[in-house]
């Protein structure tokens, strides 16, 4: 039996869904599951890690981990992996983990596969399916000569069962050796949105040039509020300055994989499709029946997004309140 270390991440003091997915997946692998958490939240979240499947918890609640610093985190994560003897490491393909684990892999001479959409762990054999070439094909990533195998999974790819609050796990607090830092995190400028990030959202409503002007994004926000969705945008409207780049879905924006993606007034240029074709169900609303978005869509409405969106908001309100 080997050890799988799961890097736990938090938002507003709660364990992220993506971390729950990984802990629960690891718990079914037959290996020992180690929950690993850094920062002040770590000290208070140990019970939550156990509820989702961690059998041992390794943490440091040192406040220096409250802001992500690549050098500091690389040193701590590498030390935790080496000390615990973990040979498989799972993390979500989040901003932090995608930055951190390649550097850890270089330090430990380990293998890393990021952006996985499917994973199988059979004994010590780890296989990861991931989209390549902007989702135009898939490949199976395998490890060779890797003493440690690191996998970064996209959010919303694995099932989550309700937490088992009866479970407990022993927790070990660590003091990690601090390297001399050449990186200083000066400040974090908060984003305007309190909603889930596009990369983690389970429902996304996205707008394009078919919305005619920036002010009409309000129609998308209204719908998103009813659905608990996050709002995205096409490159065209980002380049036009209607919305910030952080909302862009597509090749030079974010790659998303929600259960439901509603594209309103988005034509579906290949750069946009590259970022969202992994969505489970796609709804396209466009007044051009030949728009390429319809080739990827599950359901299509040929019509004016400005007319359809308020109706959808109204109908969803009725349906979801029943």
């Amino acid at each position: 039996m080997s050890k799988i270390l799961v890097f736990a991440e938090f938002q507003n003091g709660k364990l992220k869904r993506s971390s729950q997915e990984l802990l629960q997946f690891a718990a079914k692998s037959g290996h020992t599951v180690l929950g690993f958490a850094l920062g002040t939240q770590a000290g208070t979240a140990n019970a939550e890690l156990a509820h989702h499947g961690a059998q041992e918890i390794h943490f440091s609640k040192d406040a220096s981990f409250d802001m992500y610093n690549p050098e500091l985190f690389t040193a701590a994560a590498s030390e935790a992996i080496t000390k615990t003897g973990a040979t498989i490491v799972l993390a979500s393909a989040s901003s932090t983990a995608k930055d951190l684990f390649p550097r850890v892999a270089a330090k430990l001479n380990a293998g890393v596969i990021s952006d996985g959409t499917e994973i199988t762990v059979s004994g010590d054999d780890v296989k990861v399916k991931k989209p390549l070439y902007a989702g135009k094909c898939f490949a199976m990533g395998t490890f060779e000569n890797a003493p440690v195998k690191i996998v970064l999974m996209r959010a919303n790819q694995l099932p989550v069962a309700p937490a088992d609050t009866a479970k407990t796990a022993p927790a070990t607090e660590h003091t990690f050796a601090a390297p001399s830092l050449k990186t200083i995190i000066k400040n974090i400028v908060k984003g305007t949105s309190e909603k889930l990030d596009l990369t983690e959202a389970n429902i996304i409503v996205s707008g394009g040039r078919g919305l005619k002007e920036a002010g009409n994004f309000k129609l998308l926000h209204d719908l998103a509020d009813v659905l608990g969705a996050t709002v995205g945008a096409s490159r065209a409207v980002v380049d036009a300055g209607w919305v910030p780049h952080s909302m862009q879905v597509g090749q030079t924006g974010k790659t998303v994989a929600p259960s439901l993606y509603i594209a309103a007034g988005v034509s579906g240029a290949i750069q946009h499709l590259a970022g969202m074709s992994g969505s489970k169900v796609i709804v396209a609303i466009n007044n051009d029946p030949n728009a390429p978005i319809f080739q990827k869509a599950t359901y299509g409405i040929v019509g004016d997004a400005l007319e359809i969106l308020p109706k959808l908001t109204e109908e969803f309100k009725k349906a979801l309140h029943h």
Binding site: R103, Y133, F138, K182, T183, I188, T252, V283, Y299
Partner: protein, 258 residues
């Protein structure tokens, strides 16, 4: 003062991808290759730095099969890079072996004051090589950078994270910056730039001369496949209200995503 830009050549987004007969890669016949879009931001930022700091020299570097990979270097040269190096590798490199080779080549040139890269390459979407190069060179890095300011001994950058938030980061030089969209507007190569780039001698380095072997790779991709064919779209009919009502019914009862 050497400024390195690590770049990669990737299939153009519009290119149709076909799986190779042995399923261990893609069929590269007929593919149009371009400079990775994120690397354009990296080249632009390096050239801008040089324009403000006349002692700086911009070195573009790539690893890959040289006859093809050299084309990305020509693009960088045409945009304003001064020198170019290709690490010749016909073998399939993964992120860690690529990073090892790039770091060793940069070291062999006497090291860098700054290194710019794209935040990821759009072919395998891995976003690993920049951080790995920084680790191998034992220098700080920041990825997903949309703002850069030179402060002499250090740089001040902004990194884009979830929810539109930004981390403001200061790094002591030498440092590595992995560019996101928004960092700048890459310039088009000028005609004289293109002519000059064509004549430039690109320095060639063999992988083995850098102490890197294909066996240093830790990750291998196999069983390439195309995405499953999507069933044709189900178009809804009726007026806007009827379509909205039908859609909700389908999402709830058929697709079961609500």
């Amino acid at each position: 003062m050497k400024i390195f830009v690590c770049i990669k050549q990737v299939p153009d987004t519009e290119t149709k991808i076909k799986v190779a007969a042995d399923q261990n890669g893609i069929d590269t016949t007929g593919i149009k290759w371009v400079l990775n879009p994120y690397d354009e931001f990296a080249v632009e930022e390096a050239v801008k730095f040089k324009e403000k700091n006349p002692t700086a020299q911009v070195w573009a570097i790539t690893a890959g099969p040289k006859t093809r990979a050299v084309e990305s270097l020509r693009t960088a040269l045409a945009m304003g890079a001064d020198e170019a190096i290709v690490v010749n590798a016909d073998e399939k490199l993964d992120a860690i072996s690529t990073a090892k080779a790039l770091a060793a080549a940069i070291k062999a040139e006497g090291g860098a004051h700054l290194i710019f890269t794209g935040k990821l390459a759009i072919d395998n979407n891995q976003s690993s090589v920049p951080q790995m190069v920084a680790e191998f060179l034992q220098i700080p890095h920041t990825s997903v950078v949309s703002k850069f300011e030179n402060q002499g001994e250090s740089v001040l950058v902004e990194r884009d994270v979830e929810g539109g938030a930004k981390e403001v980061v200061q790094m002591m030089n030498p440092s590595l910056i992995a560019a996101n969209k928004g960092l700048n507007m890459p310039r088009y190569a000028s005609l004289p730039g293109i002519m000059k780039a064509k004549k430039k001698v690109v320095k060639e380095v063999e992988l083995s001369a850098l102490g890197v072997a294909a066996t240093d790779a830790k990750v291998k991709y196999v069983s390439y496949s195309l995405p499953a064919e999507k069933p044709p779209v189900k178009l809804l009919s009726g007026d806007a209200s009827a379509q909205a009502a039908e859609l909700i019914k389908l999402l709830r009862d058929e697709a079961k995503v609500l």
